[in-house]
Amino acid sequence: MNNAVIDMVSPLPGFENCRRYVLMAAPEIAPFARIQGLDGSKPSFLALPPQAVVAKYEQKLSDADREKLDAGEREPLLWLSIVRIDGDHAFANLRAPLVINPRCMLGLQVVLADEQLSIDHPFLQD
């Protein structure tokens, strides 16, 4: 699934002018992947599976969001947390992950209802 174009069914909050992104999962940066916007200001993001940060991360997609991604009940979906790098610190957005249906390459930044999940979860030890 290298370098395939993802269509966001809703734009990422703050990046309303960019709907298409390329997912670049190079082994050099695994388990991270780069998500490169193709429209507007062409934003570039780094992301990684939330389970790489919190092993017991188990979240479910609402039926409505699943439908937006044209995904069946058991269809495997790709979950990625956007990473924020700040100097020697890095944070993962566990509350609003990107969920991608790899079959049709539709994506959505989901806002999960679980208020315990952090938008800015630090994951690098000092």
Partner: protein, 84 residues
């Protein structure tokens, strides 16, 4: 901005199938009941703003050097072998 005065148990309707009803007016806040189609996402404004901010800051630094540094530190921390 359209401004409408509503009392408890009064509502407004937006478009097709979205209703916002005032359930209770208290000293600390107004309790609202929202009825909307399942595909309409509803969030507290501050959460939406926080995600906007997080996305904007995340897009600020994804230079190759920063990413390389992060990957190296993360792999060291998790004992993950570099895969090349």
């Amino acid at each position: 901005m359209l401004v409408i005065t509503r009392k408890a148990d009064e509502a407004i309707v937006i478009g097709d199938g979205i209703e916002i009803r005032v359930l209770r007016v208290g000293r600390d806040g107004v309790r609202l009941g929202i009825t909307a189609p399942a595909d309409v996402s509803i969030h507290r404004h501050e959460i939406y703003n926080a995600i906007c901010d997080a996305n904007a800051s995340a897009a600020r630094d994804t230079t190759a050097a920063s990413v390389e540094h992060l990957v190296e530190r993360f792999r060291k921390q998790t004992g993950r072998e570099p895969s090349r």
